[in-house]
Structures are given as structure tokens and as C-alpha cells.
Symmetry: D2
């Protein structure tokens, strides 16, 4: 039952901006990449459009603190921590490290939804297949000193 998950990525040219650093919005994309990799590792679908089993995880809150820039060709790790498992929502903390340097720390809350008859998103309890596979990470593991 993982409470943490790590991916490694390299900053691509198209992810930089004219200030010569990774554009701040891309950190949010990398958080989502890490979340998707976690789901793949658990053999769980991150999204499902199967009628009657529609599952999605729209974001209700996303934030990031930036401590040091990432630059083209930099290799960085993105580490996901499960901060909170609610009835219908999950909160993740993400840490971006470039070597020993904490470049950024993010937090994202997602809500589990399905589709109602009209096709609109409706919050639903987290499927047990997901709940049974995740575990909250101790706060000490991700709290920045």
C-alpha cells in the first residue's frame, strides 16, 4: 500500500520560457504525470469512460511554492505523498528535487467523480479498489523543516 511514489523527469526545451527557466505552470503538469504514474503502477485506471463505471478525478485545489528554478536539461524527481484520504477526495503533496535542492513543493486535492445520466460530473465515494491500495504518508515525511 504505497503512500509515496517518485518519478524522474528531465526539463524539455518546450517547457522553458523566455526567462530561461521551466514555466511555473509546468510544475502542475509534472504533478499530474506523477499521479498518473502512481495509478499505472497500481494497475488502476486514472480515468474511465466505461458507461456505469465512469471515474475521473478533477482537481478542486492546486498550489505550488517555488524555491529554486529548473532549467533546460535539468533532471528532477517528483515525489508524491498521500497527504489525506477523504470520503470522496484525495490530497497529495508533491516535492520537486534537483539533487539535494528542494526546487518546489505542491499540493493538489482531487475529487472522485462519476457521470450522472445527463453526463455531468457528480462526486462519488472513492472506489474501494483505489482506497485499498493507498495509505496516508506520515506528515513528517513531507513536511519541509
Amino acid at each position: 500500500m504505497p503512500s509515496e511514489f517518485t518519478i524522474t523527469r528531465q526539463v524539455e526545451f518546450h517547457e522553458t520560457d523566455m526567462a530561461g527557466i521551466m514555466h511555473f505552470a509546468n510544475f502542475f503538469k509534472w504533478m499530474e504525470c506523477c499521479e498518473a504514474a502512481l495509478y499505472r503502477s497500481l494497475d488502476l485506471p486514472l480515468v474511465s469512460f466505461v458507461p456505469g463505471q465512469v471515474v475521473g478525478w478533477p482537481r478542486v485545489n492546486a498550489g505550488c511554492q517555488y524555491f529554486a528554478p529548473l532549467r533546460f536539461n535539468d533532471t528532477a524527481t517528483v515525489k508524491l505523498y498521500v497527504k489525506k484520504i477523504g470520503t470522496r477526495s484525495l490530497t497529495y503533496v508533491f516535492q520537486f528535487h534537483k539533487g539535494a535542492t528542494l526546487a518546489a513543493q505542491g499540493e493538489v486535492t482531487v475529487v472522485c467523480v462519476t457521470a450522472d445520466a445527463a453526463g455531468d460530473m457528480v462526486a462519488q465515494p472513492i472506489p474501494s479498489a483505489v482506497r485499498d491500495l493507498l495509505q496516508v504518508a506520515p506528515e513528517s515525511t513531507w513536511t519541509v523543516a
Copy 2:
């Protein structure tokens, strides 16, 4: 029956890269923005997911020649010309001007698709609602001297 359509856009910070210019992939996004604006102007849906009336226009070919860079805050026009109306495909030419300077010229061919019973994309004849509203632009209007 329009054969041309023009939009004006300003280069945003996030569209630049570390070379200080608009990233080359963004010209393709701007072409699509112009195409979408044309469809809105004609009150036609660019995409429809209505069962039985699914319409989409996936790209089968896209190209761009770059003559001069666009930079942050630059204002540029994107002009679409209908180059060819086929049975199931449309070909557009796009010209990007910054003032009198031709910054780039692109060409995109899209195919009209619907969804088959399995949900896969299948090419279909261009709906008459679209065909009746478009007209081929004379080659002289978009040929670069």
C-alpha cells in the same frame, strides 16, 4: 461563403521559450484557434459528440515554414485560406503576419470523421452544412511571391 478568415493574437509569456521567441509548436495551436474562430463565425460546431451526429476533424497533415520569429507581446494576425475542399477533407493555408512581415506560413489538412459503433473514428463526407458555407480561396491570394 467565406474563403478567408483572420484572427489577431498577442504572444503570451507562456508561449515563449528560452530562446526568447514563440515556441514553434505554438504556431500550430494558433492555426487551430483560427480554424475554431472561423467555425464559430459560421455558427458551426467544430466538434460534436451528439450520438449519431458525431463530427470531428482530426489532422492528417500539418506543416509550417518559419520566416521571422514572434516575441512576447507581439501582436500578429493569423489568416486562414481555404485551399482545397475535398470529399472528406479540407486543406487550409495559414499566414502569420506581424505588421507587413510574413512571420510564418502553414498548411493543415483535416479529415471529417464520425464515430462508428465501437467509438472509433471513421472518415465521412463533409456535412453539407459545412460544405455550403465554405469556398476555395484563389491560389493567388495566399501564394507567397
Copy 3:
């Protein structure tokens, strides 16, 4: 001395994701677009690479709450409020409205930097040209009831 600034944008096809809604990271791009438009309206450079007068505004904190999705072709306003003017930092609040619906609310803190001799970013006091043109918006204007 503006304390608010509003732009209007339309959701482009490339800004959507497979869930059929505007991807959550794009809200951060739109916030930056609004900030850039404010600077243009004040005739201030958002970024300057002139040696000795280098000015940039890297983000140190960015967050967004999502209340309702935006979809392809939706028109939305992004309204910037100056929340706080610090010595070296500015905090903006952003509200996204689709008609009367508050779709999202964000907050971004940027720090004013210049480049030191080595080319690294160093925080500096906000230039008076900027400080003199901005004014804090009353909290009542942007607080969600």
C-alpha cells in the same frame, strides 16, 4: 492607479483535455496572461533584459481553487486584484467567471528580481514605476462570500 484589471478569453481546443474541460494547469497560464495585460495597459515592461535594468517577476507561490469547469468555446473573464504590495513582492488574486458563475479563484505571489553579475536572479525592491501605478484592492472586492 489600478487595483483591478480584467481580460476576456475563450477556451481554445488545445486547452482542453480528454475529460472535455480546460486542463487545470491552463488556469495558471490565464492568470499570467491577465497580469501581462495589466502591465501592457500601464505601459510597463513585464520583463526587461536591458543590462543594468534587468527586471523579472518569478512566481514564488501559485494556487487555484476550481469551482466549475470551463469547456471549449466558453468565454470567461479573468479579473486580477492587487491583494498585497510588499517591499519586493506582489500578491494577486484572480477570479475566473463564466457569466455569473465563479469558475475558479487563484492567488499568485511574485518577487521582483534583477540579475547579479553572474546572471543569477536576485530579489530587489519593486521599482517605483511599478509601485506608483498599483494600488491594493479592498479585500471586500475579491473575497468570496
Copy 4:
């Protein structure tokens, strides 16, 4: 002396659009990622801002043919072939495979530039460090039957 180079990537959620497939502009980003990986493998800088040794490779032409869509979580290879080594330009062909399926084929021509005294881009001969490390791939290797 490589004439080919291959990377493997997985389609991320943010790379999809509301049609449920990887947005067509992202294929151009992947081509650039493959080119950047080739340069890293050769220990060559793709871009250099060192005064007097500024090197960049702006695109003058980019195109892509799309044969089959890529979807979220799909793993695909991007294979670069050196098609032509000119005096100041390089032309690459890129093939995207998902398993045995050719999903797309692209072609990009880049020009080697340096910066003149005013900071503007000026075409220059390809540095020998680059020229000596690349080799043209036989046309038979990348021609689609």
C-alpha cells in the same frame, strides 16, 4: 557517428485534448525532445548562450503526417533520422511508432544560428563538433513503403 536516435515516451494526460487523443501540436514537441536527447547523448549543447559562442537551432520548416492517434498512457517511440546535413542546416525525419503501428511521421529543418552584435540571430555554418558527430541516414531506413 549516429544517424539515428530513439526515445520512448508515454502520453501524459495533459497532452490529450477533448477528442481523447494526443493533441497534434504535441507531436512537434516530442520531435524536439528526441532531438534534445540526441544532443545530450553526444554531449553537445543544443543551445549555448556563452557570449561569442552562441549557438541555437531555430526551426525553418516543420511538418507531420498523422496516421493513427496516440492516447493517454500509450507508450510510443520517436525515432530520429538525420536526413540531410547542409552547410548551415540540418533536416531530421521522425517516426512515431506505437508497437508496430506507424502513428506519425514528421520532418524538421533547423538552421544553425549565432547572435550578432545586436543580439539578432544570424545563420552560421554548422560547428564541426556537431558535423563530425552526425551522419546522414540512408533514405531506405526512413522511407515509408
